[in-house]
């Protein structure tokens, strides 16, 4: 490749635009033809193009932050395992294992196909999707209580699933035998294969139009430009050493207060995120591989410094992330990892906490910090068929330097929508008795934190099972710069007379009788700046809207309720 072929900013922009179409198009194709609800409706999948060195060039606009980690992990293990002489046209590589395939949890199945032009490897197209089941001890492969990766499902190291365009049927049969609802899973794999073929074809069309040298030069140019842009942003952070630590409530398997500690060192345009001091990995499945930790750090650094920045290798290369192996943020085999999303949320809180001093205008109060989940299962009393209804609920988003936190939303790396109440009740024998914001849950502040959500659900005409997985139930989401913490979340079972029995942070399969209701309350979020700085107009709004009680207003703002309203 000629060195001085540096593509100009216009050509780069136009080809970059075309490459984005490749990943966006294959993203939609995968979403449409998949079977898993996770992919089809929650869009828990990603598509990308990487260069021949395994560096991420372009990711679909709606890709999931943590999936970057898995894709790069796959590329790294793939290129380490297979010499270039053993990578051929029509091969498709597949992996999901955190320890032998670069993944972050088993339901995320990762595939990649090399792209050759005139016999020369120019890069790979790849995609990743969260399958509704990958086997293991629990349907859905995501339940709490699993303490070893072996229980979480089928482990796939990086393997060749296609050789020279031919699927290895023996291997595929082995994979499919190990998952539930095999026909649907086969459909998910086929959707991934089809999306890969589409991306491969489209990338070759772009090469045909622009020439292979130009396209590969644009690959490099995109990464270099993002890297330089990111470095400029990092250079804007005052030099210094910044520390913060926080804890997960528990691992759901007996360990409380799992600490995550971080030291950030910024020198010039360099930033090192060192998680030394973090607790050892735990039995419960809240461990996260280093790849996942890197993805969480990259998410929050980009969100704080430059949200519009393209997501590619340039972002990842611009920071250094280290953590001692065997800790909860850099776990080693056979640690269980299925619920690593909670840990991602906490890592993000810790990074924000550490950088708040250096970037006060970009920092936000701690958000609800969880991926609050409730599962209802039972036998439909009229049809006699079993049902499972799973919902993840949002909560408060933290106060910001110039505005309040948002009430009742998914935060940071999670952005999945709720299921309409009318859809729930038409589908399942459940009654949603209430769904709303919880009074007094947003932390007070100059800019207050967002409010948590409350949902009350009753089984109709039968008893069902209720599972809850929460976080920030014991440790409140903190405020910053004098902002007050938001209120914690909680689970409870409510009797017909209104009395409530509290439930643990993480529990499985509690019986919920037909005359009882499940109460799910998600955490609020922390405020920003001291409550004394809150404007009269904002305080009036808090009171007028009924989002905060007079007692709360008096306690936190020291002002008696105004008579006029």
């Amino acid at each position: 490749m000629t060195k001085n072929l540096a593509p100009d900013p216009i050509t780069t922009e136009i080809i970059f635009n075309a490459l984005q179409s490749v990943t966006d198009e294959s993203f939609v194709a995968l979403m449409k033809s998949a079977y898993s609800t996770n992919i089809k409706e929650r869009h828990d999948h990603s598509t990308a193009i990487v260069d021949r060195g395994g560096r991420l060039v372009v990711q679909a606009a709606n890709s999931i932050p943590v999936h970057i980690a898995s894709m790069l992990g796959l590329m790294r293990t793939l290129l380490a395992k297979y010499p270039l002489s053993d990578i051929h046209e029509g091969d498709v590589f597949c992996a999901n294992d955190p320890y032998h395939g670069g993944g972050t949890h088993l339901p995320d199945v990762n595939i990649a196909r090399p792209v050759f032009v005139d016999g020369v490897l120019i890069g790979f197209v790849c995609n990743i999707a969260h399958h509704a089941d990958i086997g293991g001890m629990s349907p859905g492969s995501m339940a709490g209580g699993m303490t070893e990766i072996y229980q979480e499902g089928l482990r796939i190291p990086v393997v060749k699933l296609f050789r020279h365009g031919q699927i290895d049927q023996d291997l595929f049969d082995l994979i499919l035998l190990n998952v539930r609802v095999v026909e649907e899973r086969r459909g998910d794999y086929n959707a991934q294969f089809a999306a890969l073929r589409l991306a491969h074809r489209r990338l070759l069309e772009i090469v045909a139009k622009n020439g292979v040298d130009m396209v590969t030069a644009v690959f490099a140019s995109i990464i270099d430009r993002t890297f330089a842009r990111m470095k400029t942003a990092i250079a804007g952070i005052p030099d210094g050493t910044y520390r913060f630590e926080d804890v997960l409530d528990n691992d759901g398997a007996g360990t409380d207060d799992v600490k995550i500690a971080l030291t950030v060192t910024v020198r010039g345009d360099g930033a090192v995120f060192d998680f030394t001091g973090t607790d050892r990995q735990v039995p419960g499945n809240v461990n996260i591989p280093l790849n996942g930790t890197i993805a969480a750090v990259c998410y929050v650094v980009k969100a704080m410094l430059d949200p519009e920045l393209p997501n590619n290798q340039g972002v990842i290369d611009s920071v250094t992330v280290t953590a001692p192996p065997g800790t909860v943020v850099s776990c080693v085999a056979p640690a269980s990892v299925a619920s690593r999303a909670h840990t991602s949320q906490r890592i993000i809180d810790v990074v924000i906490g550490a950088l708040a001093e250096a970037l006060p205008d970009k920092a936000v109060g701690a958000a609800n910090g969880a991926n609050s989940m409730a599962i209802f299962s039972g036998i439909h009393p009229t049809t006699g068929r079993p049902y499972v209804y799973l919902e993840t609920l949002g909560g408060g988003f933290g106060g910001r330097n110039d505005r309040d936190g948002k009430d009742g939303v998914q935060v940071h790396i999670t952005n999945t929508s709720n299921l309409p109440i009318e859809a729930i009740e038409m589908e399942y024998p459940l009654l949603v008795e209430a769904y709303g914001l919880i009074e007094d849950t947003g932390g007070a502040g100059t800019w207050r934190g967002g409010m948590g959500l409350r949902r009350v659900v009753r089984p109709m005409g039968h008893d069902c099972l209720f599972t809850g997985v929460g976080e920030r139930f014991r440790h409140q989401p903190w405020g910053i710069f004098g902002g007050e913490p938001g209120r914690s979340g909680r689970f409870a079972i409510q009797e017909a007379d209104g009395t409530e029995r509290p439930m643990p942070t993480k529990f499985g399969d509690a019986v919920l009788r037909h005359d009882q209701s499940a109460v799910i309350e998600t955490p609020g979020a922390g405020g920003y700046g001291p409550p004394s700085g809150r404007s009269v107009e904002k305080r009036d709004e808090d009171r007028r809207s009924g989002k905060f009680s007079d007692a709360y207003m008096t306690k936190h703002y020291g002002v008696a309720p105004s008579g006029g309203g």
């Binding site: 216009i10 993002t226 948002k406 309409p420 009318e422 709303g436």
Partner: protein, 683 residues
């Protein structure tokens, strides 16, 4: 015999397209819009049509009106104070929405605050179940207590949004009736009337928007109706809806949210009309104006309809012509991103100050400046109304060229390349991502800037043919003239789609049909113009998304349900097209039943042309136009002098009052009988 007139009120201009139903004679007119009271521009324009085009107001049979009043009211948040009455326990539903953020990576991007503040959202104790039965009865005292709160809130409009009201509207109707009785000055929107479909947040949001718009649009419609009755007593006024059909003024006042996306809809209907006249059933439209470009798909001469969209950040669940918008227009500004890449748009110089070449104080380089530098645009636009300043355009592009180390021309060409790439990506979204290959379509550019860029867009998508309509700048107004009267009826009834339920399914259809027949009578629509189209949203049991399957069309009689197996096969076909697979053995179920009632308008003749005088093709001038790295001497034709049958090859420029068409070297052009330019791209 009389005239049919389409009036499209846009942000800058109000356009008129008038056609004599008998002779096919056409008059077009453009006048500046009057945002303070849009009706003023309409009345002024009608005066001009009367005095200079000889169209007496008394000879106007129908006036079809497209309005952006609702859209602007929403964008500027100038609607009325609204209150909400909702089911106990769900006061915050309108605020929570789907609990998602608009941008994952942006810590400060929030969905807009709800149009009804929390203190104006009131609960009533009542509850319907998923079977449409009352689990908790609604007491009169509860209604009155809620209405007391509405009265005290000072709201001018009230949205009534109860869970499962789409199945059983009785509670909503009781509240509505009592509101009308006790607070006659307050407009009322019931979710079961605005859009009786399931999924509460989308229905509530649509209903709240409707309430928010009711007082403003109601006043506007009332005034416009009165003025027109005075001036043009024989004219029936039709208001354009987002679904691409007209409704009466009264319905527009009741359901103003239906007009919120009507602007792009008219363009698509106009394009479908031109497609019909030119015999091209499958068209991709490219409506490029000053700030944005709208793209849409027309298949089988009909614009594609979607059922959900966001308007000003709020979801709206209604039938809407499926238009995709991208920030690419003549005024789009070229700028350097922090990583050094050149971007064009979505920020636009707008009408004020406008592109640098307009000489109204704009200093940033825009797409129009690039077109002027390259000779694609003339410095004196036809009609001489506006003179463009090439020196100002070059001065604006110069700093970008200097930073790139490029010539000014190469930079201008690059700006056009980027704006093309942006539009190409939008077209790929509506075509390829939905299973349609753009190579099977012709490209129809319109709006002021579409035909300047169509050649590049078509090349990038390997499309072979471009159709440029005779009056690209007023295609929306033309679309209004040919729009049918339209009303969409919908009801959600979930049941297994199987032979055993045939009777139940037919009774749902029968009940929708009764509503449609009543509408035919009220409008009234004469028997020979009545059309009914039935579609059912079906899904596999257990799925959470539906596919709309067309079932039957009639000339006004109740549509009959074909045998269940036929419909199942249709569902499988659509499922395969949309999702790439289907499973023939799995049970399917109905969700929404949709009955569209149409009052068909006249099938208009092609515009009349004077073909008696056989004009020879002559260029009105020649100028240097930049194509592929060099200026080439290029003939410029006057569009108004072209007649059917003429043909010429590119490079060429075709100018007309409201648009400029660029013909690239090697492309060939023919003028068809409907006066369209048909451009064949060189292969």
């Amino acid at each position: 015999m009389g005239w049919l007139i389409g009036v499209d009120v846009g942000g800058t201009f109000t356009d008129f397209y008038a056609i004599d139903r008998a002779t096919g004679a056409i008059a077009i007119h453009k006048t500046p819009s009057t945002p303070a009271n849009p009706a003023d521009a309409i009345l002024a324009g009608l005066d001009v049509l009367s005095t200079t085009h000889g169209i007496p107001a008394g000879a106007i049979e129908r006036l079809a009106h497209g309005t952006t009043v609702a859209t602007n009211t929403l964008l500027q948040r100038k609607g009325a104070p609204v209150a909400l009455i909702t089911t106990e326990g769900f006061r915050d539903l309108l605020e929570i929405g789907r609990q998602i953020r608009p941008k994952m990576f942006d810590l400060k991007a929030d969905a807009p605050p709800p149009l009804v503040p929390r203190e104006h959202r009131f609960e009533v104790r009542e509850r319907m179940t998923a079977r449409g039965t009352a689990l908790v009865e609604l007491e009169d005292a509860a209604i009155d207590a809620a209405i007391d709160q509405v009265a005290a809130s000072g709201a001018e409009a009230c949205a009534v949004c109860l869970l499962f009201a789409f199945l059983n509207p009785v509670h909503e109707r009781r509240i509505g009736a009592r509101l009308a009785e006790r607070l006659p000055g307050v407009s009322v929107s019931l979710s079961s009337a605005v859009q009786p479909e399931f999924r509460e947040y989308e229905r509530f949001s649509t209903t709240a928007l409707n309430a928010y718009l009711q007082p403003v649009i109601g006043r506007y419609m009332l005034r416009l109706g009165q003025e027109l009755t005075k001036r043009a007593p024989n004219a029936r006024l039709g208001i354009n809806q987002s679904s691409g059909g007209l409704m009466s003024v009264e319905r527009a006042a009741d359901f103003p949210v239906r007009t919120a996306l009507s602007g792009p809809a008219a363009g698509a209907i106009g394009a479908a009309h031109v497609a019909t006249l030119s015999g091209h059933p499958d068209v991709i439209t490219l409506d490029m104006g000053g700030t944005s470009a709208d793209v849409a798909l027309i298949r089988g001469f009909e614009a594609e309809i979607g059922f959900g969209r966001e308007v000003a950040g709020f979801p709206v669940r209604l039938p809407i012509v499926d238009v995709h918008t991208v920030g690419a227009g003549g005024g789009s500004i070229a700028w350097f991103e922090r990583d050094g890449l050149l971007k064009v748009g979505p920020i636009s110089a707008g009408a004020e100050p406008g592109p640098a070449c307009y000489g109204r104080g704009g200093i940033e380089a825009t797409v129009s400046d690039a077109n002027l530098i390259l000779g694609r645009l003339s410095s004196t636009l036809i009609g001489g109304a506006i003179t463009l300043d090439p020196a100002a355009a070059r001065a604006a592009v110069q700093p970008i060229a200097a930073r790139l180390g490029f010539s000014i021309e190469a930079t201008a060409e690059g700006i056009l390349g980027i704006v093309t790439a942006n539009m190409v990506r939008a077209i790929r979204t509506v075509s390829i991502e939905r299973g349609h290959d753009p190579r099977d379509f012709v490209l129809m550019p319109f709006g002021g800037a579409g035909a300047l860029h169509a050649g590049e867009v078509a090349r990038a998508l390997d499309m072979t043919t471009i159709i440029v309509p005779p009056a690209p700048g007023i295609l929306c107004a033309q679309g209004l003239v040919v729009s049918d009267l339209k009303e969409d009826f919908v009801t959600t009834t979930r049941m297994a789609f199987e032979p055993g339920n045939r009777q139940a399914i037919e009774s749902v259809i029968a009940s929708l049909n009764r509503e449609a027949q009543a509408w035919f009578t009220v409008e009234p629509v004469p028997a020979e113009r009545r059309r009914l189209r039935l579609a059912i949203d079906l899904r596999y049991i257990g799925q959470n998304f539906e596919l709309t399957v067309p079932i039957a069309q009639t000339g006004g009689a109740s549509p009959a349900l074909p045998d269940v197996e036929t419909v199942r096969r249709q569902f499988f076909e659509i499922h395969e097209k949309t999702y790439g697979h289907f499973t023939p053995d799995d049970p399917i179920e109905t969700m929404n039943f949709r009955l569209t009632a149409l009052g068909e308008t006249d099938r208009l003749p092609p515009p009349s042309t004077d073909t008696t005088a056989r004009r020879t093709l002559t260029a009105m001038s020649r100028r240097d136009v930049w194509f592929d790295d060099a200026y080439r001497t290029t003939p410029v034709y006057d569009r108004s002098m072209l007649i059917p049958g003429q043909a010429f090859d590119g490079p060429a420029i075709v100018e007309q009052l409201d648009a400029t068409t660029v013909i690239h070297p090697g492309d060939s052009v023919g003028v068809d009988t409907a006066l369209n330019l048909v451009v064949e791209i060189a292969r």
